[in-house]
Assembly symmetry: C2
Homo-oligomer: 372 residues x 2
């Protein structure tokens, strides 16, 4: 552990960043199922997991495989001094991330446990347990952290129950689903989730990845991890198309959709294409009353990580200008390997107001946090 301890010392020595930030994508992890999740899980499901495991939906192949060089998908320096999992210890997260990076508040999106399981009752029980764990181990101990209501989205009725159970708790600022579902996310199958989130006043965050069972590209399964990663941007594009053309924003007009970890620079060209199609063929979707770009500008937020990196960094500023300076949210993806450091994520010259919107104000407004 010498290397890790050295890393930690290096982190402790780093000066605190001047720019206060809201970090809209932090991934906490359980120390172990037994320590952190089982206390919130009925005995029945503990036995079930021991006996049957938690098989993912059929057809799932490599949606969450990570290179072995990035164990736990994480920065090597994010392992705990005792070898524990990255993101599994609040004190270490404070020292390594929240304090030095001047995080005013951070939004947690738990991954893996409970998502995409074949057994839908088990999925619901695990989502509930993960949500309770977010309260007992994180939000009740650290006022800078907020949680996401993880839902078993392939079972919308159970998802609604979980949203209603968590609604009103200040620990949670959004509902969390994944991007590669069994059906495109705008499909009416998922409408009860949008309806319940709207009723609870919570945005719906869509995090990259998923276990729908479909090939990650329209042309089949790619060979490389990098292709799998960039395909997340394409899945995000498909789901925005789906949500717009299914009329989700008309039917649930207070929906706020937050796209997490799919990049953002693809949004303008997508909206231009959607606008053209809609202007030609809107009779196919009479429930869609306005140009797609109008819904997108009103209802969609995007987190920055992994932000695209043009050679000429002013291009990303142009792109964010189109998307809207009030719609882009800083995210680090801590503790994952492709962490974006707030000090370097936007090297292009920005106005003070743009920086403040991107790093802090937009998240404050979206999540209603930090204005006290």
């Amino acid at each position: 552990m010498n290397e890790i301890q050295n890393n930690l010392r290096a982190v402790r020595a780093r000066p605190t960043s001047k720019q206060r930030v809201a970090d809209c994508d932090i991934h906490p992890a359980p120390r172990s199922m037994e320590q952190d999740i089982y206390p919130h899980l009925e005995k029945r499901w503990q036995s079930h997991l021991a006996e049957y495991g938690a098989p993912l939906r059929s057809g799932f192949q490599n949606g969450t495989n990570y290179p072995k060089g990035q164990p736990q998908a994480s920065r090597r320096d994010s392992f705990l001094p005792d070898g524990g999992f990255p993101g599994s210890d609040l004190a270490f997260m404070r020292e390594q991330h929240l304090d030095p990076n001047n995080v005013e508040f951070g939004v947690m999106l738990p991954l893996r446990v409970g998502l995409g399981l074949q057994n839908q009752e088990l999925a619901a029980a695990l989502c509930r347990a993960v949500n309770e764990w977010q309260i007992t181990e994180w939000t009740s101990k650290e006022p800078r952290l907020r949680g996401s209501v993880m839902v078993p989205y392939e079972d919308p009725a159970a998802s609604v129950q979980e949203i209603e159970r968590c609604a009103g708790k200040p620990d949670f600022v959004q509902v969390e689903v994944l991007s590669r579902c069994a059906e495109p996310l705008g499909n009416r199958k998922y409408w009860p989730i949008f309806e319940a989130a709207q009723a609870a006043g919570l945005p719906v965050a869509v995090h990259a990845f998923g276990y729908g069972g479909w090939a990650v590209t329209g042309g089949g399964w790619p060979s490389y991890y990098m292709e799998d990663m960039v395909a997340h941007s394409q899945s995000m594009q498909s789901l925005v198309s789906s949500v717009v053309f299914e009329g989700v924003f008309e039917r649930f007009p207070r929906t706020r959709l937050v796209l997490v970890e799919g990049g953002l620079a693809w949004l303008p060209s997508l909206a231009w294409r959607l606008d053209r199609l809609w202007s030609q063929l809107r009779s196919e979707v009479p429930h869609v009353k306005r140009p797609p770009s109008e819904y997108i500008r009103e209802h969609v937020w995007l987190t920055s990580q992994p932000i695209e990196e043009p050679e000429d960094r002013s291009h990303i500023v142009d792109v964010m200008g189109w998307i809207g300076w009030d719609r882009v949210l800083f995210a680090s993806d801590y503790p994952h390997w492709d962490f974006d450091d707030p000090a370097h994520v936007l090297p292009a010259p920005l106005s003070k107001e743009q920086r403040q919107q991107f790093f802090l104000e937009n998240a404050r407004n979206l999540y209603g946090v930090g204005h006290e």
Copy 2:
């Protein structure tokens, strides 16, 4: 047919466009299989078609369905005066498109017949017949038209035979495949096609659509035709990622890839994401020596139709500037319903040189046509 005859008269009365153009996406159609394809098809396959039909690959659902309001996927005014299929008559095509739109040369990409069939021998026989038909009915009669060597791409060995059979014939200026294959296009399965095209000095054109059998999005099958259409852009992004990361441009360095009917505005943001991934993880693909954007700028051309339409049309000029003014090709998609009229496709102010490159010079250079 009165409406059609009125349409035709309206077309004949239209003044000729001043801007000479190369049209890089024209779709000719057989009058009927019996009239146009059977003369080039062995009796054995004629009997086979009568007996067994031509089933598409399993899993194909709606990849080429078109709204009934666009019969034959075509402009209503492109039906022949006698009711014949759009694109099936040279004289009519001259009058309606080549003459009034001042087409210096047009590149034909036949669709449907022969592509994506389960029976691979039948696919090869039909591709060969379609290629012969392009010569006898089109290129031998109209010097402005050039053909594409259609290949049964799921059978690369047969594709190589067909490329070699057609290589050197001035009738053909490129090889044609579709975008949604059984495997991502960069996969080594398809390398013999790239190798043979390079040896023949022919670009490889990838037209939108396909019959690989996968859901068109990573999140499953969408509900609406418009989602299906915009998913073509996402399939194009996936295949560019595949071709780059599989190292096709390193292994076949004279490859010229032409992306047809998938739009173009998505290319910059894709390249930025690919560059970032490559800078972080290039050890996964040691055969990829340079940043993805460099390969893309050297090896990829894009046709314009259906061009994205931002509210502020100067955005599309910015995008084309990033792609490179020497890499964008005008295409009309005649006679299909979403035809782009050269008079209106680029309303934004452009320099005379940019217009000339886009409408004519790039295609002349790529295809080696029109310099005589």
